[in-house]
Amino acid sequence: MAIPLTDPASLDADRIKQSLIAFLKTQSEFSDYNFAGSGLNVLIDILVANTHYYALYKAMIANESFLDSAILRSSIISRANERGYLPRGIIVARSTVTATLSNSTVGQLSMEIPKGSTFVGNYGNAQFYFSNTDSAALLPTGISGQYSGTFVVAEGYETTTTFDVAPGSRYILPNLGVDPSTIRVRVETSRFNTNGEVFVNLSSLITTDSLSPAYILTEDESGKYEIIFGNGVFGKPVSNGNVVIVSYHVSTPGAGNGIATLSPTTQLFQVGDLTLTNTVTSGAELGETLLSIKENVKRHIPQQNRCVVESDYETEIKKQFPQFKDVVAWGGEKNVPPVLGKTFISVLTSDMMPLTRQMKSTVITAIKRKNITAITPEIVDALPTSIRVAATLKVNLALSNSTVQDIYSLVKTVISNYDVAYLNKFKSKFVESQLVTKIVECSPSVISAKLKVLLVSKIYPNLVKPTSYSMSFNAPIAPGSLTCDSFTIQNPTVATDYKFVDAAGVVKIIAIPNNGATTYFLNGNYGSINYTTGEVQISEVIISPSANSVGLSVFATPADQDIFSTGLHVLSIDTTNTVVTSQQITS
C-alpha cells in the first residue's frame, strides 16, 4: 500500500504528519495513531522529524546550489569562484604624501623612509594609523641638505604570514580586513635557504605556463583570502619544504577617509626637519556585498574579463570601483566629429564631483590591462544638471490626521525618494506625471499637485581674468526664462547686484541697485542662448558670485516638464531647495 502523498512539496511537519496519518487510516492493524501518547504516534513523530529534516536539508542544498537562490556567503563565493569571479575585497583608504626633509645630512644620494613606517591622523574623535606600502626614497632637491619625495600610505598596518609547504596544506591568511591589492607573495626554498622568487596574482591563463610564478587568490568559506599555487600546468607549483611568505595590509574596513593631515608616529630621521603634506585620505570601501556579487557575476560572464564593447568597460569599472554611482562608456566614432581609436568613459561619483586627475589615471591603468591594444580609453567629466521643483498642492485636511507641515514633509520626502530612485545616473528621466502621481498618493489629504520645474546649471567664474563660459541644460528651454543668482562685477560704481537675463536669445546683464533705484541693462551683449538645444554661451566677463556661494547657479525653465538626460548629462533634484506650497480646500 503506497503512502498517499497528498502534499509532497510541503516542508511543514504537521502536514507531513497528516499525510502519514491519512495512510494509517487505510489499514486495520492499528487504530491508535491519533492518540498523542500511543506507540504509533511516537513512531510517527520520529518519522515526521526525520522527513522534515531531510526535506529541509535537500531544499537548502538546492537553494545553495544556484547563485540566484543562495543565501550563505560561502555558497555565493563558491558559485562565483566556479565562474572565475573573485569578489572584490575591502579597499583601504590611501593618501599620497609629499615629504620634504630640510637641514639634513648633505651629499646623500637619497634618504629612505622604510616600508611600514606609521603615520597617524584624526577624523572627528577617531584616530587612524597609516603606513607606507613600499619604501620611499627622498631625493635631493638641489637645496643643500634638502630631500623630497612622494609616496603612498594606506590605512592600517603591514603584516606578514609564513606558511611551511606540506602535503595538503592550505594557505589561508588569518586576518579579516585584508586589502587583496596589497598582498605580496614570496616563496623561499626552505627555512634554511632563503633563495626564492616572488609570485604574482594570476590574472590570465593565456599568458601562464608551467613555470610562471603565479598564484590564484580566492575567498574561503569564512571570508578569508586563500592563496592557491599552480599545478605545474598553469603556474609553477610549490614543493614540500618550501616556505611561503605573504605580506599584506590589514585595515579597518570602510574607514579612514577624509583625513587632511598625517604625521609620523616616530622620528623618521635623526638629522633634519621633516615636513609632510598629504592629499586627503580617500578610497576606503567595504568589501563587496552578497547582492553585488550576485549581480557582478552575471555581468562577468558575458564580459569574459575583457574590455571590448561599451558594456564591458562599464562592467569592469563598476566591478573594480564600486564607489562610483554610475558609469557610461561609448566609442569615439559616436562623437561629433568622430574620434576614432578612443573609448570615452564618464563616471559619476557619489558626491557628483568630477574625478581627480589621480583617480582618472588609476581608472585608466585598471582598464588598460584588459582593453584592446589599439584603443585608448579616455575619461571625460559628467555634466550634472540640477532640477529645482516647486510643488503647489490642493489639500483637504479633513481627509487625514496630518497637518499641513506633515504633508509638506511627506511631499519633500517623496521628491527626495524620487531623486534617489530614478535620477542621479546616466540616461535618467524626470517624468512630471510620475512624480505628481507619487505626491498625490503620499497622503489622502493631497487632492492634486502641480509642479513647476527649473533647470539649474552651475558655472565657476574666474574671479581675476575675463573668461567665457559654455553650459548646456541638455533640453529645450522656454524663451525668456534664463536667469541666475546675483553676482557682482569688477569695480561697480554703486552697491548693485547683477544678473544674466534672456533678451530674445541674447544674454544681457541687468543691474539691480540696492538702493531701490530703477534697474537697467549694461551696455553690450554677453552671450547667446539656443532655445532648442538648451546651450548657453557667455562671452568673456569677470564676475564674482555673491558671498557664501560656491559657483554661480544659472536657471532656465524647460520647454517640456519631462526631462531626459542623454550623453554625459546627469539629472538630479536639488532637494535642499524644494519648495512646497498649498491651497486648502474643504470639499
Partner: protein
C-alpha cells in the same frame, strides 16, 4: 474485538505470526500514559507543548511546591493528550531514603467507556 490497537515499541515479534507485537485496549492506554509521562519538551519536533516535561523538575527541591506543580502538569498532560483515560487518583511520594532519590508517581485511571480501572506507577528519578 479490541477497540484500541497500538504497536508495542519493544518491537518484539509475535512467536506465532512473526509480526511485531501489538497492544490492545487497557494495555495500549497504560502504555500511552507512560509515554506521555516520559516525553520531554524537545522530543517532538515543533510541538514542545505536547510533553509533560517532568524532567524539568529533575533538579528542583523535593518540596511541596515542586510536587504540586508536577501533579498539575501530569493532570494537564493526561487530560489533553489521553482522552481515553479519566484520572481517579494521583499520588506523589518523595523518595529520598533510597537510591536514586526521586518521586514515585502512583496514578489510578479509568478507561473511558469501560469498567477497567488501571494502576500506573512511574518513578521520576533525580538522577539520570
Amino acid at each position: 474485538m479490541a477497540i484500541y490497537t497500538d504497536i508495542d515499541l519493544s518491537l518484539k515479534k509475535h512467536p506465532v505470526t512473526g509480526d511485531v507485537l501489538r497492544l490492545y485496549d487497557d494495555v495500549a492506554v497504560v502504555r500511552s500514559i507512560s509515554h506521555i509521562l516520559q516525553v520531554k519538551s524537545t522530543d517532538i519536533a515543533f510541538h514542545p507543548e505536547r510533553a509533560a516535561s517532568l524532567d524539568e523538575y529533575q533538579f528542583e527541591l523535593l518540596d511541596y511546591v515542586s510536587m504540586a506543580r508536577i501533579e498539575r502538569m501530569i493532570r494537564e498532560a493526561i487530560n489533553l493528550y489521553e482522552p481515553r483515560a479519566k484520572i481517579l487518583a494521583l499520588d506523589l511520594t518523595a523518595v529520598s531514603d533510597t537510591l536514586p532519590p526521586g518521586i514515585k508517581i502512583g496514578l489510578k485511571v479509568q478507561v473511558v467507556n469501560s469498567n477497567s480501572v488501571l494502576q500506573i506507577d512511574h518513578y521520576l528519578s533525580k538522577v539520570k
